[in-house]
Subunit: 261 residues, 2 copies
Amino acid sequence: MNTTLTPAALRQRIRSGEFTANTSGYCPGFVQCNMTILPKAWAGEFLQFCQLNPRPCPVLGMAEAGSPAIPSLAADLDVRTDIPRYRVFEEGRFRAEVTDIRELWQDDFVTFMLGCSFSFEEALQADGLEIRNVTEKRNVPMYRTHIDCTPAGRFRGQMVVSMRPFRAADAIRAIQICTRFPAVHGAPVHLGDPAQIGIAALDQPDYGEAVTVREGEIPLFWACGVTPQVAIEQARPPICITHSPGCMLVTDIPNSRLAVM
Amino acid sequence: MNTTLTPAALRQRIRSGEFTANTSGYCPGFVQCNMTILPKAWAGEFLQFCQLNPRPCPVLGMAEAGSPAIPSLAADLDVRTDIPRYRVFEEGRFRAEVTDIRELWQDDFVTFMLGCSFSFEEALQADGLEIRNVTEKRNVPMYRTHIDCTPAGRFRGQMVVSMRPFRAADAIRAIQICTRFPAVHGAPVHLGDPAQIGIAALDQPDYGEAVTVREGEIPLFWACGVTPQVAIEQARPPICITHSPGCMLVTDIPNSRLAVM
């Protein structure tokens, strides 16, 4: 399929069931979002968790309780149909992957959209930097750390980070570029020795796939949008629905609009 | 002496001969400058060298040929008397250290003022970061690298860098802060392995004094204002006058005015 469809055209094909794949590389230039849906009784604490931990959990938009619309992100958005694949969790445990959640919808569902690393990866590539997971066509490697998130009610847990290796001068440039994008995880939270943040082995990620780290390269670690998933596993809400990894909401917002300067 | 004198009051005491010491820590909040004076026949090439190598050689001001004034930096400035100690070089070789250069002055002298790391060190400290050379009351360690500067006429040479160690999170913060100050060397040019830029041993600096690098800390390397001195050694102009290391011109410009954002 043509990757340069407009976001509205891609969402239409997702809604019709024609497109059920990974959205990576589609609609370049537009913000893609991580999604979390929770019952209203859990939504307040989750929002507080996000606000206390903005680097892993940057909130780009949320819906009114019971509403599938977030017009600030996409005029015609229906969160029940416009994501290629959803994951359903009960009591914090994965139950099913589906391509439509209209039958699961509840009047008390509150939808959260969080920033995603696709936005900053695009900014880094536009500057000429090589993103190893893109080059090697792998899911970015992600690791549980020993960095505690600030808890909020029942939501708590340790930060998950994604890792991308760079030569030193490119690492400095990546920090500069990502600093401009606090709404999509911002600057790295760590660089260098993985053991300092509780990572035992770079070649054994907890999520995603390992990538090559070449001699002389420095690993950079970014706060990752998988962090809320860990907090949800701990909180064990009766139901929670998320996007399936890599199958994101594609919004109408240009990535450049997230730059703070 | 009171370190919180106004810049004008400190310059007055330097001019009168009362103050002949290091200016580090004096007039906090105000820009201090590295100085280079060259005959006009050499000044054009030197300016080009600075413009081609803005990270080690950021030009903050220069005087008309024969003039000891740079009103854009300090209203009453006389570069012949307002620096505590000067160094005189002939054919690129050190000849003498003096506290006044009125007797050496030539009608064809062109004075250059370059940004200095004191400005960004102050910004880092204001953010709560520890600067090791400040804590240990040492001259910052500086090293010759194998990074070639872009040559201009007779001026050429390899970049000199200064080094300050930080924990990873502070290293990231230091890169963010220094990025705001391109006129005083800007972001680091390297981090991590010193050998990658041709430095054999951190405990054997080529200039200044070694500082403690603790377990788990990462060395950050900034382009350094000693770089033009190396280029002058290579160019061998008949005469060149600089400030003595640490004995800087104190200007009336607030450090904050150098921030680009």
